[in-house]
């Protein structure tokens, strides 16, 4: 590994199902991590449940990489079947290199059109020379060689993943990797990654969905009910065993109507509670989210967004559930909406979401998305934050106990079943302070005021947004759009531009004063988001007075924003 290579490098492995593209990708990520590189891996698959075409998209860097780059430096195609379906997801350029098996036939149109240099390695043939040798391991060897990763790192990663129990498999893989590397050694190299600085920090390999699960448990979640749905299932699957280690349980519900109601029940019983879902499931939870608002029951709902509307594209990302998350409830139903800005931030955001739900006795919706949730990243160990589930619990006192007492803060102490004297009926009907149903205007207004007040009076501290840099131009964004924007801004700054980045972590309630302060002196605001109708921009218009000239930039998924695309907007925006 040289010191002179690129800061980051992007590679993609494609092949049809069963060819082992995903395993190879994962091994590559592990290998890079072992060398002290940061990294990111996302997956694309065809519509088939099994056996369709697949792509592992990876990026490595000497600094954290939390989104993909503008183009892939290297594409390794185990075969070309149907991979043109991924064409739009695999931008290539004239400086890109494509390693292909000559036996795989002609490269697809999008590869040819890119002008990428195509080099041939007889992957299949080489693999066949080793009994049990896998084509994906040969490819891995070739790939590593091309981008400058030492073969030893690959071999180490293979050994770690195959495990000690299968020494034969390790040897077979080692041989395949070596063959691939040797074959590639004869080729003119393309982009190579520079060796990382010393690995001085603790690194994690984690997906956004795992980070969400762990953040939630750290925050105090001890009961989860959920119904499987792509791309949120892994949160449930990760939490099922881990929660049980930490004093909690997970129940698979019969549907999302049940999940949300189960966690209302468990939270009423005193357990900080969560469910995870995607757009279609969130839609089904809407009625009972209103019940949680009215009955002031704390809970966290994670929505891992995918392309909508309706079933849409279950496996692809989009930021288009903002409307429903913020404004989807019937009646006046204020609640909290938060969003992580990248894979790593899922931990903090989930932990904070739990803290907010418990502190404010309200439902909190956390808007993650597929591109964050299902991506695996090599990150620095996230900092510890002190957020825990802190519910104001009634242990005795005034009689009769006023479950919905009109306190100054708007939060009233909650009696947990089992507490003598705290008996009350939690209710979605308009009620008085005691909780008794009422259709009187004064009770209705008092409780609406109370529920609004508790959200408005709360101190959301600095966590409401990530703010970075200074300048007369500001980009306001949220969620998974943040990482490519961050990168584009860094590039623009390198060229001398002064741009401020404001990525909202707290979407609702709106923080007009905080944003106004953050935007002081700003003359031009670019609002960037991944939705077809500009949901975030409309939301900002509704709740904030943005200074100066405002340029909304929005488009739908499923393709992710790329730094270069954002750079274009920034330039077009007057830089």
């Amino acid at each position: 590994m040289t010191q002179t290579g690129q800061e980051t490098i992007s590679v993609v492995l494609t092949g049809s199902g069963g060819a082992g593209v995903m395993t190879a990708g994962q091994t590559l990520l592990d290998a890079a991590a072992s060398l002290g590189l940061y990294g990111l891996m996302t997956r694309s698959t065809g519509p088939q449940i099994r056996g369709g075409e697949a792509a592992a998209l990876l990026r490595f860097g000497r600094r954290p990489v939390l989104s993909h780059g503008d183009r892939f430096d290297l594409l390794v195609a185990l075969d070309f079947e149907n991979i043109s379906r991924f064409g739009a997801e695999i931008p290539l350029g004239a400086s890109s290199v494509v390693i292909a098996d000559p036996a795989a036939g002609d490269p697809p149109e999008f590869v040819v059109a890119s002008g990428a240099r195509i080099v041939h390695v007889e992957l299949a043939k080489l693999a066949k020379t080793i009994p049990g040798g896998r084509i994906s391991m040969v490819a891995l060897g070739a790939l590593a060689q091309m981008i400058g990763l030492p073969e030893s790192a690959i071999v180490g990663a293979v050994a770690a993943s195959v495990g000690k129990k299968k020494p034969d498999a390790i040897v077979t893989s080692e041989k395949a990797v070596a063959l691939g590397a040797a074959a590639a050694a004869t080729l003119t190299p393309g982009a190579r990654i520079a060796a990382p600085d010393r690995l001085d920090s603790e690194r994690w390999s984690i997906t956004g969905n795992e980070a969400t699960g762990y953040g939630a448990i750290k925050g105090g979640i001890r009961f989860v009910a959920g119904y499987p749905i792509t791309p949120a299932t892994e949160i449930l699957e990760w939490m099922a065993p881990t929660l049980r280690q930490c004093g909690g349980v997970l129940v698979q519900a019969e549907d999302e109507l049940a999940s949300i109601n189960m966690i209302i029940g468990s939270s009423f019983g005193g357990a900080p509670s969560l469910t995870a879902t995607a757009g279609p499931g969130l839609s089904l939870m809407i009625e009972s989210l209103g019940l949680a608002v009215a009955s002031e029951t704390p809970l966290v709902v994670v929505d891992v967004m995918r392309s909508g509307p309706s079933t849409g594209i279950a496996t692809k990302s989009e930021q288009s559930d903002l409307n429903i998350a913020v404004n989807g409830l019937h009646g006046d139903a204020p609640h909290v909406v938060v969003a992580p800005t990248d894979v790593s931030d899922c931990l903090l955001t989930a932990q904070w979401a739990t803290h907010l739900a418990e502190s404010l006795q309200t439902p909190v919706i956390m808007l993650s998305d597929q591109s964050i949730g299902q991506a695996r990243a090599i990150i620095d160990r996230p900092e510890d934050v002190a957020f825990t589930a802190t519910r104001d619990i009634w242990t005795g006192g005034e009689s009769p106990y006023l479950r919905y007492g009109l306190t100054d803060s708007g939060v009233s102490a909650m009696a947990i079943p089992g507490t003598p004297g705290g008996q009350h009926t939690a209710d979605g009907l308009t009620h008085n302070e005691r909780g008794t149903p009422s259709s009187q205007a004064h009770d209705h207004v008092a409780q609406l005021d109370k529920r609004q007040r508790k959200l408005e009076n709360f101190d959301y501290s600095d966590h409401w947004a990530e703010i970075d840099g200074d300048g007369e131009i500001a980009v306001v964004t949220w969620g998974s759009s943040t990482a490519p924007i961050r990168e584009a801004i860094a590039a623009a700054r390198d060229r001398g531009a002064k741009i401020k980045l404001i990525a909202l972590r707290l979407i609702a309630p709106a923080q007009p004063q905080k944003l106004a302060a953050a935007l002081a002196g700003v003359k031009r605001v670019l609002v960037i988001e991944q939705s077809h109708s500009g949901q975030f921009w409309r939301y900002l218009r509704a709740h904030y007075d943005l200074p100066g000239e405002v340029t909304p930039i929005f488009r739908s998924g499923p393709l992710p924003f790329r730094p270069g695309e954002i750079g274009g907007y920034l330039a077009h925006g007057g830089l």
Binding site: R203, C246, G265, P417, G421, H424, T425, D427
Partner: protein, 278 residues
């Protein structure tokens, strides 16, 4: 439930709150409330260790009339809410109250799955074969020729068999009661609460306002079940499938262990980081 060994005796009145029921004079639900009070007193359960969960409907108003913890949720979802509560808090005694509309129409799916899951809940459905609260629409147990505004001349649909559905779905205890017999009703509720797992008690509870036929009519039909209770699924299925809906008593008592998932350990979450660390 978790039978407590309590030192002191409880009176039924201790389970009643100060909130005045909205029910019509003569509504069967008044008697169901009394039966529940008596049952809880008989079991000597401290009111704060009991939770009553419901949906929406006249019948579903019952939690606030008790002096227990209560949750008056949304229409049709009481069983799911109660499941979360009981799994998180196995120490509580959890009753679920519903109506034939709330429980069998909109709530049907949770009924199936609560029976299947067999969490230790006692499910009381006040069946008046009508939607009372919304002023008289047919429910899944309404007779096909019952005339209503929304279905003039009747729906033409035969009522279905909630007790067989409960059995097929896995309920561990199935009984039928009549609100007109408060002490019989209370006795069944005591038995249902004591029975482990999911206990389903259908209580025929007349709606005097939208089903004026029931109050007199039902008295003539209702009788204690002739055949003794069974634990045989096949026999129970046949019997419940062919009964006329008026046999009172315990009709099935199974032996499935309740579902109560438990934590395996109580470790600090930080140990989970090992999985991520490179």
């Amino acid at each position: 439930m978790n039978i407590q060994n309590n030192e002191r005796a409880f009176k039924p009145a201790e389970y009643k709150s100060a909130v005045k029921p909205v029910w019509c004079p003569g509504c069967g639900d008044h008697s169901v409330l009394l039966s529940i009070q008596r049952a809880l007193a008989e079991l000597a359960l401290p009111p704060e260790e009991v939770a009553v969960v419901s949906g929406i409907g006249c019948s579903s108003r019952i939690p606030a009339y008790t002096n227990c913890y209560g949750f008056h949720g949304v229409h049709g979802r009481s069983l799911a809410l109660a499941t979360g509560l009981k799994v998180a808090r196995p120490d509580l005694t959890v009753l679920v109250a519903s109506g034939d509309g709330d429980g069998f129409s909109i709530g049907g799916n949770h009924f199936l799955h609560a029976c299947r899951r067999n969490v230790d809940l006692t499910y009381i459905v006040m069946d008046n074969r009508i939607y009372g609260m919304t002023k008289g629409q047919p429910s899944p147990t309404t007779e096909p020729d019952w005339d209503t505004a929304i279905a003039p001349g009747g729906t033409g649909l035969s009522p279905f068999h909630p007790l067989v559905i409960a059995l097929a779905s896995g309920a561990n205890y199935i009984a039928r009661a009549f609100s007109g017999d408060i002490s019989g009703c209370a006795k069944l509720i005591v038995d249902a609460i004591r029975s482990p797992g999911f206990s389903f008690v259908q209580i025929l509870s007349p709606c005097v306002t939208f089903r004026p036929d029931q109050q007199k009519g039902w008295k003539d039909f209702i009788r204690p079940a002739m055949v003794p209770e069974t634990d045989d699924h096949g026999r129970a299925a046949r019997r419940l499938m062919t009964d006329d809906g008026f046999n009172i008593g315990v009709l099935f008592r199974g032996a499935r262990p309740p579902y109560q998932p438990q934590p395996l350990d109580h470790r600090d979450p930080s140990h989970l980081e090992a999985e991520f660390v490179l």
